[in-house]
């Protein structure tokens, strides 16, 4: 039988792998979701702690990414319920999030920033389906499983979310 220390070490190695694999995209998604980098970092931290805590309950039948995204979405939802969040949050400020100068056409850069702001300002139920579908490239079935809603509801929300945006979103590699 493995010792507790050995099990802990194995799980930490797994957490390191998951952080490498999903950490950046999770952080970026949480920034758009919560509109705040510091809160997003806290949310990602809490997500991985929950992943560690529940690692041995993870059933391989479920996709690892789906499982992690489900945790992350729930953590973000919790954050949005707090009065601290409601008092502080106004809008997505990419200038403070992204200090680095981006070498691209100014108008195009402003346009892209506007897209992210539009998504960040969507109602939560629309924002989460857009981020999961177009950014995390998950299927409507996987999103339904993450949000505990019907697949048809996911499609309806995606459709309504798209109508609210000023641009059209391209399908990613999943299709």
């Amino acid at each position: 039988m493995e010792s507790i220390i050995e099990i802990e070490q194995q799980e930490i190695v797994e957490i390191e792998r998951m952080m490498r694999e999903y950490g950046d995209s999770l952080l970026r998604m949480c920034i758009i979701y919560l509109k705040d980098r510091a809160l997003a970092e806290d949310a990602v931290q809490e997500t991985f702690i929950k992943v560690y805590q529940k690692y041995y309950t993870f059933n391989q039948i479920s996709e690892e990414k789906t499982w992690i995204m489900r945790i992350a979405i729930n953590v973000c939802k919790n954050y949005m319920r707090t009065s601290w969040f409601k008092r502080v949050k106004t809008g997505l400020d990419l200038e403070t999030i992204s200090k680095e100068r981006i070498d691209q056409n100014f108008i195009e850069r402003e346009r892209q920033k506007q897209i992210l702001s539009e998504i960040a300002e969507l109602e939560r139920k629309y924002k989460e389906v857009i981020l999961l579908y177009y950014y995390q490239e998950m299927s409507t079935k996987e999103i339904a499983s993450i949000l505990h809603i019907k697949e048809g509801t996911v499609r309806v929300r995606l459709q309504r979310a798209r109508q609210k945006l000023s641009v059209q979103l391209e399908e990613g590699e999943k299709l």
Partner: protein, 493 residues
């Protein structure tokens, strides 16, 4: 025609310098290693009615033995917390009395106790139909405005089968502070029915496959060591291959997963109060189950037989364990046979009966009630300026709220723990109240939440059995934090 953009590319480009940095990664790893202690602590905030709680799980344990359902035929809170305790807190109980009447069943939100951050609520369902309810009746599904932090107790059915009463505890809920309306929705009244089926499954192979004997090295740790709990936790939850899983029922899927033997009779764990042979079943549903869904089935092994002698053993306790607060998938059934303590007996045993709990819908209907809960704290929030630092973290306690439910400390924090093996800064806050009769009562930090630079610590008082004690705040003389007096009932303070 709208312009088309690839959102993945846009986000990755606009946020291309945003990465999970090394400092954050180290912090995550440090907190992971320190996790089990904190997880264990959270159960202490569960009230008396929920005493049968798995020690490391925030979920609720339903025990079929019958001992869990001690019915007291007194209205409202006294049903759950007893007349004696209610006497202390009676002035703080607010009558809500809001209802929604549908199809001969009325949902009534009866009463609440609330302070700045915590609330206790009693609500009930009144059956005005022809047929009274019987034991096992419950509400099918919940939808409410505080479920992330709410804890629900097993319902109590009145003797005449006409009233089903629930108790909910919500800790750290800032809705109260914001004066928001509470919304409670419920769907369907259902009835749990037990169905027994005969099976014939030898235990020897499953036992050999997983070698689930708690090894003696763990006995070196004290009974409440986090390592021992982690070990048991893993025995309960670890995943196994499909080839080692025995399907008991296809739709919905119920499997017999493994055979464990806990030889340490000192354990006070409700999963294994006496140790012995424990059989684990699982419903691996994809659903996020709150324990009340009407189309959910879980089975527990209820009987085993010794093939050498024909002796039949009935499980002395069967339970279903699920976690409504986090993301535990499906639920686990455990069946305990405390007479079996020797692993040498197991190859001669076979499981001969499984009992399923299935749900029948009695009333298909939705109910919804909106209501206000007032903060009835009589002691004004106390402003403090107390600083503590340890292990790379420092906190500044800025406010203390005292209510019948306990004490809530809030303030700011900086830094991250350097050594994950050491107690967190919150563990080192020792709150004590000195009563007017001279007695000293310590608080236990039951729950701490924090954001990037703020924290909130909830401190409660527990009795010898780890049940929640409500404070008789009129009789508090002084309150101390780490030896420093921070509040006094006398006006000079």
């Amino acid at each position: 025609m709208k312009e088309a953009y690839n959102l993945k590319k846009v986000i990755d480009k606009q946020l291309k310098e945003v990465h999970l940095n090394a400092q954050l990664e180290e912090s995550i790893k440090a907190k992971c290693l320190d996790r089990s202690t904190q997880a264990r602590k959270k159960i202490y905030s569960v009230p008396k009615a929920l005493a049968h709680v798995a020690l490391w799980i925030i979920g609720i344990l339903f025990v079929f033995s019958g001992t869990a359902y001690a019915i007291n035929h007194v209205e409202g809170f006294s049903m759950f917390i007893g007349e004696k305790v209610l006497k202390n807190i009676a002035p703080h109980v607010q009558t809500i009395n809001k209802e929604d009447h549908q199809k001969e069943v009325k949902m009534v939100v009866e009463a609440a106790i609330a302070d700045h951050y915590n609330s206790l609520l009693v609500f009930s369902f009144i059956n005005e139909g022809e047929k009274p309810w019987t034991e096992g009746v419950k509400v099918g599904e919940w939808d409410d405005s505080w479920s992330q932090s709410g804890k629900y107790g097993p319902p109590i059915l009145s003797e005449d089968g006409r009233k089903l009463t629930y108790y909910v505890e919500s800790s750290g809920n800032e809705d109260i502070l914001e004066g928001k309306k509470f919304i409670l929705k419920a769907s369907n009244i259902i009835q749990s029915v037990e169905v027994e089926e005969e099976i014939d499954i030898p235990l020897g192979d499953l036992f050999q496959a997983h070698n689930t004997v708690l090894d003696t090295i763990d006995y070196d740790y004290p009974p409440h060591s986090k390592y021992l709990y982690m070990k048991l936790d893993r025995l309960l939850h670890r995943e196994i291959g499909d080839s080692q899983r025995i399907v008991l029922r296809e739709e919905p899927l119920v499997t017999f997963e493994y055979v464990g033997l806990i030889q340490d009779s000192r354990l006070e764990n409700p999963m294994n109060p006496d140790g012995g042979l424990t059989l684990y079943t699982r419903n691996a549903s994809d659903k996020y189950w709150t324990g009340t869904s009407h189309d959910y089935v879980i089975g527990t092994i209820s009987e085993i037989t010794d093939i050498r002698t024909g002796k039949v053993y009935t499980a002395h306790q069967r339970s279903i364990n699920y976690d409504m607060a986090t993301l535990w998938r499906g639920s686990l059934g455990t069946s305990q046979f405390s007479e079996i303590m020797d692993p040498a007996d197991i190859p001669y045993l076979k499981a001969t009966k499984v009992t399923y709990e299935v749900q029948e819908v009695l009333t298909k209907q939705d109910w919804k009630v909106e209501f206000d809960v007032q903060d009835t704290t009589t002691i004004e929030p106390i402003q403090l300026n107390l600083g503590f630092a340890a292990n790379g973290e420092s906190i500044q306690i800025q406010q203390m709220n005292i209510s019948v439910m306990g004490i809530t400390l809030t303030g700011t924090k900086t830094g991250r723990p350097k050594d994950p093996k050491k107690d967190s800064i919150y563990e080192q806050i020792k709150v004590e109240m000195h009563m007017q009769d001279g007695s000293i009562i310590p608080f236990i930090n039951s729950d701490t939440t924090s954001s990037k630079d703020k924290f909130k610590a909830t401190c409660v008082v527990l009795d010898d059995k780890h049940d929640r004690v409500f404070l008789d705040i009129e009789k508090i003389d002084k309150i101390f934090i780490n030896g420093e007096q921070v509040w006094s009932a006398s006006p000079s303070m």
